[in-house]
Symmetry: C2
């Protein structure tokens, strides 16, 4: 039972919850700055790393493929993304960022302030410790 967790672990979970809240808030703010919704920003960010089929976007977002159709539709309508045929399989449509989309994706990454402000509180040594603890927590 979570209610039997020790107070220390409970506090850590509480703190992580706060981090999650701030991160999301910051992400939505950065997306809105570019007139994008959070979902649109996430898809554009994904595609800026590597074009991919609609289905794979759905897997990354953990949602139904039919949902991705609408999100990519809106990004395409704004000229940030385009659908290309997959030469190897005519069923597949590869979503890829346009030059405009790439620019927006980069600007979006740069305006995601979350990192700077909170991490500035920590020294390099502390950041290393934090990195190692997070790595172990995530089992990487």
């Amino acid at each position: 039972m979570a209610s039997r967790m020790d107070p220390l672990s409970l506090e850590v979970v509480e703190l992580i919850g706060t981090v999650v809240g701030r991160y999301y808030e910051e992400y939505e703010r950065a997306a809105a700055e570019h007139s994008l919704t959070g979902a649109q920003a996430r898809v554009l960010g994904l595609l800026s790393l590597e074009p991919m089929p609609m289905r794979r976007i759905a897997q990354k977002l953990k949602c139904e493929p039919s949902n991705v159709t609408g999100i990519v539709d809106r990004l395409e309508a704004r000229g940030l993304v385009e659908r290309r045929p997959d030469p190897a399989d005519r069923r597949v449509k590869l979503a890829a960022p346009t030059p405009d989309g790439l620019t927006t994706a980069t600007a979006l990454r740069d305006s995601l302030n979350f990192a700077r402000e909170p991490l500035a509180e920590l020294s390099a040594d502390e950041r290393r410790v934090l990195r190692d603890l997070l790595r172990r927590m995530l089992g990487s």
Copy 2:
């Protein structure tokens, strides 16, 4: 520019992004287990700590009060929450969990496994260090 951030900070941000993703996933899963949406689970969780006016729920969720109306409507329709008059101000409606709502909120907290699994990797000492780093990062 975020792109000029040092590699260490970039990695920490990346790791935090992963934590955020897993936490959200886990939260939605736990909510769905009780046939609740994420938003409904968040409101029920809030109210289980302390009944509060609609307006304050909106402030906590950082959304418009009109949005809260619908979410509380659905929780009320399921008998998990009730609206009570505020004796001090007849404009205000206090949302409070029913006994059923409290039970569900507790079950929800207990089924939120996020904490256990990842934190189990860390010793008590390490958890203390993590707590202190997160506290400082969040400026509490």
